[in-house]
Symmetry: C2
Subunit: 167 residues, 2 copies
């Protein structure tokens, strides 16, 4: 969900530039950096506070291209949305409302909030290689600044490339 | 989670007996009845209202024996708690808090809220046979009034029987 359907880094950048007078851009994350590594030590602790705030996950921008490609994927495949959301209690209802707003054709039966992604599926689109470790199916690594160093997976840079790979 | 770790029917019975002057007992559910089938038509609609109320899932009694057996299971196995919670948005935070209170040794990484239980596990303990249909592993049907008619699965009537089967 985050960094594949939801532009969570985009929201981090907007918050810090607004509240902490930083001038982050997505380019500064290249290559291989996590967002929190950009933060000066004196404000790094604030990241978890923002994530834990009710509402944080409710208004995150949708990743470019996802709104166009997802309905076509859902026509061809049995699409599940799987988010490692369980670390943040207040994210759960926000994430569910966000999904219902932007992807209303994905039934509640096909939404999974978890920690470890031990799901029995054929294809996984994810930005975190750790989620591929115990997964035997086809792996599509969705490009995100933090995963640029990995070259052992089929990579999709955009939702248009997801469409080209799967439709 | 419901009817295996959490005595959700017990809470339904308590609510209806208190608020609607009914005199339900768990015995009246035998054999093969769903709780909602007990409800007279004029109050049947209230069931979803109670389930959707914030707080409903926060104070459900723990099933007898679960507090004693679960720590031993968690020592021997990599235990995941998988709940088909996604139909009820307000249940998510309540269920997570409830699990953290009663089963604090189960990490957030091992908690899954979903619709369809498409989990990649070896053993499943569940009260709903529908969750066994696409599952290849060992199936333990935890006895609940609604599942009394099924005899094609390994049955566990109590948490003591779960212990006997798995420890």
């Amino acid at each position: 969900m985050d960094e594949v359907l939801a532009d969570t880094i985009g929201k981090f950048i907007a918050i810090y530039n607004e509240k902490h007078n930083t001038d982050f851009t997505i380019d500064k994350l290249q290559p291989g950096k996590e967002f929190h590594e950009l933060l000066p030590a004196y404000i790094r602790y604030t990241l978890r506070e923002y994530i834990n705030e009710p509402g944080f996950f409710r208004d995150i921008p949708v990743m470019q291209g996802a709104l166009e490609v997802m309905p076509k994927l859902a026509e061809k495949y049995d699409v599940y949305i799987v988010s490692a959301a369980m670390e943040f209690k207040n994210s759960l209802a926000d994430k569910l409302e966000w999904l219902n707003e932007h992807f209303p054709y994905i039934s509640w039966t096909n939404i999974i909030f978890c920690g470890h992604k031990i799901v029995n599926v054929d294809i996984m689109i994810d930005d975190r290689v750790k989620n591929f470790v115990n997964f035997d199916g086809r792996k599509l690594l969705f490009t995100s600044p933090h995963n640029m160093a990995y070259d052992e997976y089929e990579r999709v840079n955009t939702w248009e490339e997801v469409a080209a790979a799967l439709l």
